[in-house]
Symmetry: C2
């Protein structure tokens, strides 16, 4: 029995002659009463082949395999699917893909949803090379994630070669090694088995695996494979991994630092991923300095590295306007003390960027680079040492509590004077909810003209000290709220009648 | 005897009949051996007229008055001018106006100079309505300024009506009062005498008076005078005040909040000021949300209010590039705890903005709005309570020590990777000086590739604690500097051989 949104898997035995990775194809079309899902099986060494399928509906799904290897052809597969158990919500998609258009508001295009309709608000973190660390460190990373609030991890498939990251991994995606060279036509099953184990473990923790398929930080040649090899690799990766409900595809980290790959290459790679992914997982492509054209229809959401050193999460408003898609600021700099400007902001500033971006209707990813530790989270995983993760957890709680349909306050000539300085997330249509964030401002008070005929409970939120203080009574009309003259405060108003 | 750059003044008696403000004109052309300076005299009530002249060269200057009042016509005036005494450097102008073109570098267009060639780096503050407060407060403001580092004050001629500013002043520029109306054809000599006294007192403190000629915060009608009245007022103001060497003309504060005045109006007002000002004092026009076209030739320097809430002094680089003039960020928000976002940043953030702007080759003005005090500095003057003024004084000392010719490091493809994150003020041509400012970054160390063949002394500057720590020895080649992992640090390098 296979649980809905989990993986049905059938192991088959076929030829081990020649190079099955290049020579053998294997397909199956899973059908229930109303739908057909075509999947690609894949070779995993020693004459072993595997067909996987993620059923999105309970019931019986059947398939008959097709292959150019007679041993793999014509095999009948039956997947008996049981309804999803509690906590299993399926893939994360764009909210406007999950809900029918008639049920979608203008705001929904900027947000995500699990495919069962549950809300998903990404609070990501970054551990680029965690699966390429020693096994005990990988286990430690999982332990850390387990007790953190993060629900998305940005992670590479290929190992990383960069400052503080010079060790060779134990296993590579391809057969071979650095000294003797890699065989780009044969994959290393040990590597892929471990990667899948880690993706599965993340899923058990409710964490999305934002898989970075290509990246520039390389000394092994994986960043400079030719177009055919890239496509060959992408097909294999997607054939194997697309069945995990918690997978997102990041075509690249910092695509613009791979200048030998053209826009035509990336577009081909995007088509390849889409064509081989039976389930339409989320797709993005991340930048260093130059943004990819994020209006391209295959890009489901903006995965952005802030370009400006100063204006980071604040630009969420502009990016939403420009791209009309969910905006995930996957790099807004990291908390830490590294020598580079991308990795030495304070926990306060990181927390501020998270709040600022969330209030503006975007999402952010965390990262941490404290150089004094043997493992640096942003790349190795290991342990967290910073001050912002618990504040991000606090923010996540506040955001989970934001009513559906809330949107950043639209500035108009009429409301500009009262709102130009402080962003606000609110439900304007019924005036039921307002969440103002003051960032680095330290006002002694603030005045509000509350909507006519409405009465509110008001809370002061100290986003750094992580306290919520309900002010006595209820409020209506012209209101003056005393504030503690310190940075990082928020005010929440909820309509009571 | 009149000291060079100070005011020669001759009082004359003429008619008191009719309205001398509108009816009588009085001119004099002061000549020495090589030059003629035409000035306008002005009426100051009770049949008293005054001719003023600021000699820019020692020696004998003579003039014969001309007037449509026979009593004022044909009077011979002699100004015996002695050389400037110590500390008297004359007007502040653009550096490329003071130095011959052949002696100017590309950078000089972004800076100021006294007319005697001494350096002037503006560190301004804002006391909009200080001359419209009770006399004892005006005295207190001067006392405060005396012990501060500020060398420019932004101040209005007309009183200010705005939140926290609702009191009527004792005297107005025009005759009349609010109840009975103002006579826009007659000026009140008591007001102008006091204004001049205050400008003179500022000059004695070495402070430039950045005079705001028009502004929107008004209940008395001065913001809504018609074009002819504006011109009449501007002529009188300039005729009286242009002889003070420490005067700058700010045509408006927030010109865009006076939408009933057209671009044609402002251009006319600019021509009027230029035509009546015998000495070519600095001229600017300040914005709220929309910038005036700062490429206009009459604008000597950019007097800007930051538009973006987040990116403020950092934009100096862009504004320099765009306007090719000195950039003075006259409003980058103020230290304080007011309810409005323009006046509730911390002293730390204000200090950071000052450093950031200075390192980028611009200048900033300070302001302070702590609501718990009876006088709020930004408008009333009085006392300073904030934490940034002493840090600005510290910065001023650091900036005075920057060698002539230093300029912001130009980012190139070659130096980008090492410098994208941290701005640097330096002398690139002889590699003699580098001043790096880390702002909100908190690196544990930084590495530098020092220019070949040069050896440096290196100092750590804590811009908040106001300390300068010289590191032992000298440095050459590849260098790693340990840093204290805190915000607001700077590194200064000076070539020793």
């Amino acid at each position: 029995m296979t649980e809905q949104y989990k993986i049905f898997e059938e192991n088959l035995t076929g030829t081990a002659q020649g190079n099955p990775y290049t020579d053998i194809w294997l397909k199956a079309a899973f059908k229930n009463d109303s739908e057909t899902v075509e999947v690609n099986g894949f070779y995993c060494g020693d004459g072993n082949y595997r067909v996987r399928f993620m059923p999105a509906e309970p019931g019986t799904w059947t398939a008959v395999t097709r292959s150019n290897d007679p041993m793999l052809n014509g095999r009948r597969l039956v997947c008996e699917c049981t309804p999803a158990s509690e906590g299993n919500h399926g893939r994360v998609l764009r909210k406007d893909e999950v809900y029918p258009q008639s049920a979608c508001t203008e705001e929904d295009r900027f947000h995500f949803s699990y495919e069962d309709g549950s809300r998903f608000q990404p609070f990501g973190t970054t551990c680029y090379a965690w699966i390429n660390q020693p096994g005990d460190i990988q286990e430690q990373t999982l332990e850390t994630l387990k007790s953190s609030c993060f629900n998305k991890v940005r992670m590479c498939i290929f190992p990383k070669f960069y400052t503080y990251n010079t060790a060779d991994p134990e296993f590579y995606a391809f057969e071979g090694n650095e000294a003797e060279g890699f065989d780009h036509t044969r994959f290393n099953p040990v590597f892929w088995d471990n990667l899948e184990k880690r993706i599965r473990q993340l899923d058990e923790l409710g964490i999305e695996a934002d898989l970075i398929l290509l990246h520039p930080y390389d000394k092994w040649g994986f960043a400079k494979m030719d177009r055919e090899t890239d496509v060959f690799y992408l097909k294999y990766a997607v054939d194997r991994l697309c069945h995990f409900k918690n997978v997102w595809w990041a075509l690249a980290n910092e695509f613009d630092l791979l200048p030998w790959k053209s826009v035509e290459d990336w577009e081909l790679y995007a088509r390849t991923v889409m064509c081989r992914d039976s389930y339409g997982h989320l797709r993005s492509i991340h930048n260093c300095v130059k943004l990819y054209d994020h209006t391209r229809p295959w890009i489901t959401h903006v995965s952005i590295q802030r370009i400006d050193v100063y204006k980071t999460a604040e630009a969420v408003s502009e990016w939403r306007q420009e791209y009309q898609k969910p905006v995930v600021v996957d790099e807004c700099a990291y908390e830490g003390n590294i020598n580079f400007g991308w990795g030495n902001i304070t926990g306060e500033e990181m927390t501020r960027r998270f709040w600022e971006g969330c209030i503006r209707g975007g999402y952010l990813s965390h990262g941490e680079v404290y150089v004094q530790h043997e493992q640096i989270w942003w790349s190795h995983g290991g342990k967290l040492h910073g001050t912002c993760p618990e504040r991000i957890a606090f923010l996540k709680g506040i955001m989970e509590d934001v009513p559906e349909g809330a949107a950043p306050l639209k500035l108009t000539p009429e409301n500009h004077e009262a709102n130009w300085d402080v962003p606000c997330l609110c439900r304007e249509e019924d005036h039921s909810y307002y969440l103002y964030y003051f960032g680095f401002f330290q006002p002694a008070f603030r005045t509000y003209e509350l909507p006519e005929g409405c009465s509110y409970e008001i809370e002061l939120i100290d986003t750094w000290d992580m306290t919520v203080e309900k002010l006595p009574g209820t409020y209506a009309g012209s209101v003056r709220i005393e504030l503690p003259q310190k940075q990082y405060m928020a005010v929440r108003m909820r309509k009571v009648c």
